[in-house]
């Protein structure tokens, strides 16, 4: 770009561009309110058709679950030695997805990355719903789900407490903590917007918002305390978020099953979770933006930034994957060798190459800004990531169980309709919750955007107009 070209830019249009990017365009508060509230009322037949379709999928999945409970785990495709199948793989996948919300809203909040503002709520909601879906699987996969309460630590006349040496206990506690944390985090940040919605709606919605906004008036003291609480949350939830997927990885790593028994599993899982979670978020944002006509708030620069994050997480994932793989390959231990052979050239090869290509191609794609800023290309890339990461979970859980120290007891696994229905149920359930959430609660955090407007201005430095942030937080 030559200097003359820069000079050729008319000053006004340049300023407008920045304002646009930072949502600084001249819009009154109430206009922004309406812009966020209006999509919540847009419920066309397509919306209801989607809701009904998803509900049917969920109902079918619930039937499958009932069938599973009534007849036993044998209706699923799991067997000996593949004791864990799609259920646990999907569980790990959903827990992974849930990591993006914290990444966006806690990490980026702490780092004061202001582009996060319009997407935090979407990310937090995703976390909460993904955890709900993940939380179902420990129940689904229990052989005697009606006895699940034996895992709860409560005083009883049997004097029996749960075994806290079991990673499943850590898992249960950590996921519960993370679920509480992320839900409360979502809720706290939602209160001012609920108050806003309360003031601008009627009928049942107003009643709902009234109750949920707890009497928020927006006084200085309230804002101050809310800020304080959110800061504590941001700090506190990051170790939780790291611990959750580490613990999930320890479910596998504490066993002496070859390829599971790995010290790199915890960071590898966390990075993988961030990778898949961010990709899922990008995916959802593209869809929601289209579905709710939120182009005004969710702009290409958000996708650009998100795409970059996905790219970074993806590269980190490759690094961790490779760091694990090279050591296992080099060690050449018999069972590990068998497992790697199975993946690279055996019955798991199709899955393995699907996994690798679906995880690597998006990394190449996302290098290009064009991909990051074009919604459909971004959608393709991030969907690929999710396919890849789901496959990766299946390979880790199912693939590695197919081979063990006793060749006599090796086995193969393929899911049955019950497992597929239940897995689909959680995807449908997630989509359903998300769809309903987007019509009931302000999808874009209004107050955060308004706050952002306060902080930013466009300044002229020499010939250039640049956005600057005021250090006021």
């Amino acid at each position: 770009m030559s200097e003359s070209e820069v000079l050729a830019y008319p000053e006004d249009s340049s300023a407008a561009e920045f304002e646009d990017r930072l949502l600084l365009a001249e819009r009154t508060s109430s206009e922004i309110n309406q812009a966020v509230l209006q999509p919540m009322f847009r419920t066309s037949w397509k919306f209801w058709a989607l809701v009904i379709f998803l509900s049917l999928l969920v109902l079918w999945g619930l039937f499958a679950w009932g069938y599973l409970i009534y007849w036993g785990m044998g209706t699923a495709g799991i067997n000996r030695p593949v004791y864990w199948g799609f259920f646990i793989a999907t569980f790990v996948f959903w827990v992974g997805i849930s990591h993006a919300g914290t990444m966006i809203s806690a990490v980026l909040r702490l780092l004061k990355a202001d582009w996060r503002r319009p997407i935090t709520r979407g990310a937090e909601a995703m976390t909460a719903f993904a955890l709900m879906m993940a939380g179902l699987f420990p129940f689904i996969h229990l052989g005697r789900v009606w006895k699940f309460y034996w895992m709860l630590p409560y005083p009883n006349n049997r004097l029996m407490w749960p075994n806290f040496q079991s990673p499943l206990m850590w898992d249960m506690v950590a996921i519960f903590t993370y679920f509480i944390g992320s839900t409360l985090y979502l809720y706290l940040a939602l209160i001012p917007d609920l108050a806003m919605a309360r003031d601008h709606t009627g009928k049942w919605r107003q009643k709902l918002y009234r109750v949920l906004s707890l009497g928020w008036r927006g006084t200085e003291a309230e804002w101050h305390k809310l800020h304080r609480a959110l800061s504590i949350f941001s700090v506190a939830i990051i170790p939780i978020f790291l611990s959750v997927h580490s613990i999930v990885s320890w479910d596998f790593a504490v066993t002496i099953q070859p390829r599971w028994h790995s010290t790199i599993f915890a960071p590898y899982f966390v990075v993988g979770a961030i990778y898949s979670g961010l990709a899922a978020l990008a995916c959802i944002l593209v869809i929601v933006r289209k579905g709710m006509q939120l182009q005004e708030f969710l702009r290409s620069e958000h996708f650009d930034a998100l795409g970059k994050l996905v790219l970074v997480a993806g590269m980190a994932w490759v690094y961790f994957w490779f760091a694990g793989f090279i050591v296992e390959w080099y060690g050449n231990e018999p069972v590990t060798r068998e497992l790697i052979h199975e993946e690279v050239a055996g019955s798991l090869a199709p899955l393995f190459y699907l996994q690798m290509s679906a995880n690597l191609i998006p990394i190449v794609m996302l290098i290009f800004k064009k991909v990051r800023t074009t919604p459909w290309l971004l959608l393709v890339a991030t969907l690929l990531v999710n396919v890849g990461m789901f496959t990766e979970r299946v390979l880790i859980v199912v693939g590695n169980l197919q081979r063990n120290f006793m060749p006599f007891n090796w086995g193969e696994y393929s899911p049955t309709w019950v497992e597929v229905s239940i897995v689909v149920m959680t995807f449908a359930g997630f989509a359903l919750l998300y769809t309903i959430f987007s019509r009931i609660f302000p999808y874009v955090p209004v107050w955060e955007i308004k706050e952002g407007r306060l902080r930013y201005t466009v300044r002229r430095i020499g010939r250039l107009l640049v956005p600057t942030a005021a250090e006021i937080e």
Binding site: N156, N157, R158, L159
Partner: protein
């Protein structure tokens, strides 16, 4: 007032739970209706020992329910006019067992053995209560795992390892 209903509902739930607890206890301790109006009290007061009718707890896991033949051993001559006794006699003649309702019951996955308990010096009354004072037999304790453990876990150090072991009762 809405809040009143809320509190009302809460109280209802609490009362329901407490009532449920009490009722289930009552039900555990309630004496079941037996096919024959048999009275332990009458027999014990007549001087019959527990082991006369229930002879096997010293050598077998079960105490044993007396056979109809055993009943008839005495009631061939004693109190033969009593309609209840005549009913026992009719069972005997038809060769049908008397369908007694079990009073003290353990679930399938609990393996209780009378013999070691009596061997350790426990009396029938320790667990079954003073049956000799009961007209209709009923359970006097809720025989759940906590109750078993009350004894089993308070044993000397060399014994507690075995006695508080799950495999002591679950197999």
């Amino acid at each position: 007032m809405k809040r009143f209903w809320l509190i009302g509902l809460f109280i209802l739930v609490v009362v329901g739970v407490i009532a449920g607890v009490i009722l289930t206890r009552v039900q555990v301790y309630a004496a079941p209706e037996q096919p024959i109006a048999y009275s332990h009290q009458v027999h014990v007061e007549a001087g019959i020992q527990c082991l006369f009718c229930h002879p096997s707890p010293l050598k077998s896991p079960l105490a044993g329910i007396p056979s109809v033949q055993k009943c008839m051993g005495c009631h061939n001559v004693i109190d033969t006019d009593n309609p209840e006794i005549q009913q026992v006699a009719s069972y005997y003649e038809s060769g049908e067992p008397i369908p007694w309702i079990r009073v003290n019951l353990q679930p399938d996955f609990v393996y209780f053995n009378h013999q070691p308990h009596l061997g350790a010096g426990l009396n029938c009354e320790t667990c079954h209560g003073d049956v000799g004072q009961m007209d209709v037999t009923r359970q006097t304790v809720k025989m759940d795992m906590g109750w078993c453990l009350d004894c089993h876990i308070n044993q000397s150090d060399e014994k507690v390892g075995r006695l508080a072991d799950c495999l002591a009762c679950h197999k």
